[in-house]
Amino acid sequence: MSDSARRPHDAAPAAHDTPAREASAREPLLSVRDLHTYFDTDAGTARAVDGVSFEIGRGEVLGIVGESGCGKSVTSLSIMRLIPQPPGRILTESSIRFRDEELTTASDKRMREIRGNDIAMIFQEPMTSLNPVFTIGDQIAEALRLHKGMKKKQAREEAVEVLRLVGVPDPERRVDSYPHELSGGQRQRVMIGIALCCEPDLLIADEPTTALDVTIQAQILELLLELRDRLGMSIMLITHDLGVVAEVCDRVAVMYAGEIVEQGDVRQIFQQPRHPYTEGLLLSVPKLGEKTDRLASIPGVVPAPTDWPVGCRFHDRCPYGWELCVREHPDLFPTGDGRVSRCWLEKHPERREQSPGYRPIGAGEEVETAAPAAGTTPAPAGEAGPRSAQRGSR
C-alpha cells in the first residue's frame, strides 16, 4: 500500500464535488453545497444526509438513485425545507442556493412563496397525495388561486386546461371528480398538474412512478419530459429504478448512506460505473436479450444512519474493499472523464483487477472475504473483518 493513499486528500472536498463538465458553462438553477440533515432520535443522531453537494442546471434532469434509507428523500425535503424540526435539523454549514437565494436561511414566509411557485414536488403515492374530500378541480384551482391570485371561476377554467395538458381524458367532466374516482395513473397525472400549474422552475419528483404499473410508468415519464420541454423547467428525479434513470435523466447522482458516491453523465455511468456500489446496482438489473441464470446482488443491507461505518461507508458490502477502506473515508475523487467517485479504487486502480468482483446471488455468501486482506496490516481494533465489525456494532 502506498503512503500517498493514506494521506488526507490535498484539495478541499468542495472542489471535488463539482462535476468538472460544463458546470461553469452555465449558471446552475439549484446548487446544493455540503448539505447535512441530521435527526436526533432515541438511538442517537441519525446522519440521514451527510455532506451532499450537487447542482441542477436549467432544463436539466438530474437523477438521484439509491436504496431505501440512503437519504434521497431527505435531500429533497431539505431543499423544500419540509424536514420536521425537531427532530430534524439542517446543519449551518449546509447551503442550498436556488437562483440567487439561500434557502437554508430564508424566512418561512418566503419559503411558502417558493414552494409550489418556484419549486414544486410530486410524491410517490398518488393514492394518498390528493385530498379525498375535494374534487381534483378544486385542488388544482386552490394552487392557482394561492400562487397566481386567480378568481374562482378563472381558476376553474384554468384547472380544466391543466387537466388537458397532463393528458386526463374528458377534462371538462373530470374536473368535478373526486380522487377516489380516478385510477392511480390518472391521480399521478393530476398531481403533476397541481405541481406544474404554477409553472415552477424546478420540479422535485420523489419516486413518481414507483406505485404505478409499468405501462403507466412509461406514460408518466414521457409526460414529465414533454412538460419539461414545453415549460422549460428542471427536474430532480428521485428513484431507485435504474431503468427510469436511463430513460429520462441527463446526469445522475448515486447516493449511498447519506452521501453521493458517484456523479456524472448518465450514459457514462451506465456504460462504465466507477464506484463499486453503482456497479452492484447495475449488475442487479436484468438486461434484455441476455441470458443469465442468476443476477448479481450486493450482499448485506445499508447500515443504520445513526451508526455509519468509520471508513468508506460501503466497505462492508464491497467486493473490492481492503483495510484502507475500513480506516479512511474516501473523498469524491475526479475520475478524469468528468465524473466523480467516492472510492479508493480511483487512487488504487490496480486493486480492481485483484478482486473477482460481484457474484451472482447464492454463488457464495461470504463475499467480503473475496477481497484479499492486505496481510501486512491487521484490521483496526482487532475486528475480524469489515462485515463482522459492522454486525458487531449494531
Partner: protein, 370 residues
C-alpha cells in the same frame, strides 16, 4: 323538461314516484302535505301575525316557509341530478348518504328527529293551548287525556301536549346549540394541538385533561348554584364542558392524517398552516366528529332533563321536558300522564339520535367502504 319534472314542480315527490323512486317520493309527498296541513290549520294565527304576532310566532312562520321552500327545492334538485345521470363527482359524503339510505333504523331515527325539530320550530302553529296560561285551576287541573286535551292537563290545568311541544323547543335547542359549541371548540383545539404538536399540543392537551377530569355534573350544579339559571347559562355550561372528548378524538385523527401525503403535498405547495388545518385537516376529520356530535345531542338532552328534574335547569313555568317530568313526579299515581309523556319524548328523541349516530358511524366508516 320531462313530465316528471313538471309534476315535481307542482307537487314535490310526485315526480320521484313517476321516475320510479317510490320511497323518496312518498317521503317527500308526506312531508309536503304535512307542512301544507300545518299551514292550513294554523292559518288564523298566520293571518293575524301582523297585529299580535310575538317573536315566537314570527320564527314559526319563517321556519314554515323556509321548510316548504327547502322540500320543494330539494325535490327539484334531486330529480334533475338523477336525470343528468353520470357517476362523476360523487363525494364521500354522498357515498355515505347512499349507504345511510339502506339503513332502516337510521332512516326511522332521521324521520323522528326531523319531526321533532319541525314540531319545535313550528310550536306556536301546532300547540293547541298556551303552555303557560293557567285557567280555572279547580276545573281543569289533572284532567285525564281526552279529545280536548289529548295528553291531559297538569296540576295547574295546563295542557300537557302544548307544554311538551314548547318543551321540545327548549330541550332540543339547548342540546343542539350546546353540542354545536362543544364540537366547534373541540375540533379546533384538537386539530391545532394535533397539527402543531410540541409544546402547543402539550399545553392544550393538559388543559383538556383538566377539564375532562372535572366531574361534570358537580361543575354544572356549582355554576348553576352560583349564578341564577338562565337559558344562555345552561347552553354555555353544557357546551363548554363537553368539548374535551371531541378535542381528543380530533387530535388522534389529525396525528395520523398529518403524516398522510396529501398534507405533505399541501405543504409542498406552500400553503400556510392555517389553511392546511382549516381546509385540509378539518374536513377530513369531520366524519367521526359528526358521529360524536349526533350521539352527543342525545346525551345532552338527557343531561339537561336531569338538571331540570333536579330543579337546577330552567326555572318553571318555562316548559322543558325535564321540568315536565319533575312536575308530574308529585302525583305519579293519580295523574300518570303528566310525567309519562314528556318522559317518553325524552326516550324517543335520545333513541332517535343514537340510532342515527350508529347509522352514520357505519355509513362513514372507511373500513366498510368497498
Amino acid at each position: 323538461m320531462s313530465t316528471s319534472r313538471i309534476a315535481s314542480a307542482l307537487l314535490p315527490g310526485l315526480g320521484h314516484v313517476m321516475a320510479g323512486r317510490g320511497f323518496t317520493g312518498v317521503a317527500l309527498l308526506l312531508s309536503w302535505l304535512t307542512l301544507l296541513a300545518v299551514a292550513a290549520l294554523g292559518w288564523p294565527r298566520i293571518a293575524a301575525i301582523g297585529e299580535t304576532g310575538s317573536l315566537d310566532d314570527w320564527i314559526a312562520v319563517v321556519a314554515l316557509v323556509l321548510t316548504l321552500a327547502l322540500v320543494w327545492g330539494w325535490a327539484q334538485w334531486s330529480l334533475r341530478r338523477q336525470q343528468a345521470g353520470g357517476t362523476i363527482g360523487e363525494s364521500q359524503w354522498r357515498i355515505a348518504g347512499r349507504r345511510l339510505r339502506r339503513d332502516p333504523l337510521a332512516l326511522i331515527g332521521i324521520a323522528v328527529i326531523a319531526l321533532l325539530y319541525l314540531v319545535a320550530v313550528l310550536a306556536p302553529l301546532i300547540a293547541p293551548y298556551d303552555p303557560i296560561a293557567q285557567e280555572n285551576i279547580v276545573e281543569t287541573s289533572y284532567l285525564a287525556p281526552s279529545l280536548s286535551h289529548p295528553l291531559g292537563t297538569d296540576q295547574f290545568g295546563r295542557d300537557v301536549l302544548s307544554r311538551m311541544i314548547y318543551g321540545a323547543r327548549i330541550s332540543l335547542a339547548i342540546a343542539l346549540i350546546a353540542v354545536a359549541i362543544a364540537i366547534s371548540l373541540g375540533t379546533l383545539i384538537g386539530a391545532i394541538a394535533g397539527y402543531l404538536g410540541g409544546w402547543v399540543d402539550a399545553a392544550l392537551m393538559r388543559f383538556t385533561d383538566m377539564v375532562l377530569a372535572f366531574p361534570r355534573l358537580v361543575l354544572l350544579i356549582m355554576i348553576v348554584a352560583l349564578f341564577s339559571s338562565s337559558l344562555t347559562l345552561i347552553i354555555l355550561v353544557l357546551g363548554l364542558t363537553q368539548w374535551p372528548a371531541t378535542a381528543r378524538l380530533v387530535r388522534g385523527e389529525v396525528l395520523s392524517l398529518r403524516e398522510r401525503e396529501f398534507i405533505q403535498a399541501a405543504n409542498a405547495l406552500g400553503m400556510s398552516r392555517r389553511r392546511i388545518v382549516l381546509r385540509h385537516l378539518i374536513p377530513n376529520v369531520l366524519a367521526p366528529v359528526i358521529v360524536a356530535a349526533t350521539l352527543g345531542i342525545g346525551n345532552t338532552i338527557v343531561l339537561e332533563a336531569g338538571l331540570s328534574f333536579l330543579g337546577l335547569g330552567l326555572q318553571p313555568p318555562t316548559p322543558s321536558w325535564g321540568n315536565l317530568v319533575s312536575d308530574g313526579r308529585q302525583n305519579l299515581i293519580g295523574a300518570w300522564w303528566v310525567a309519562t309523556f314528556p318522559g317518553l319524548a325524552i326516550v324517543v328523541s335520545v333513541l332517535a339520535f343514537n340510532l342515527v349516530g350508529d347509522g352514520l358511524r357505519d355509513a362513514l366508516d372507511p373500513r366498510l367502504r368497498s
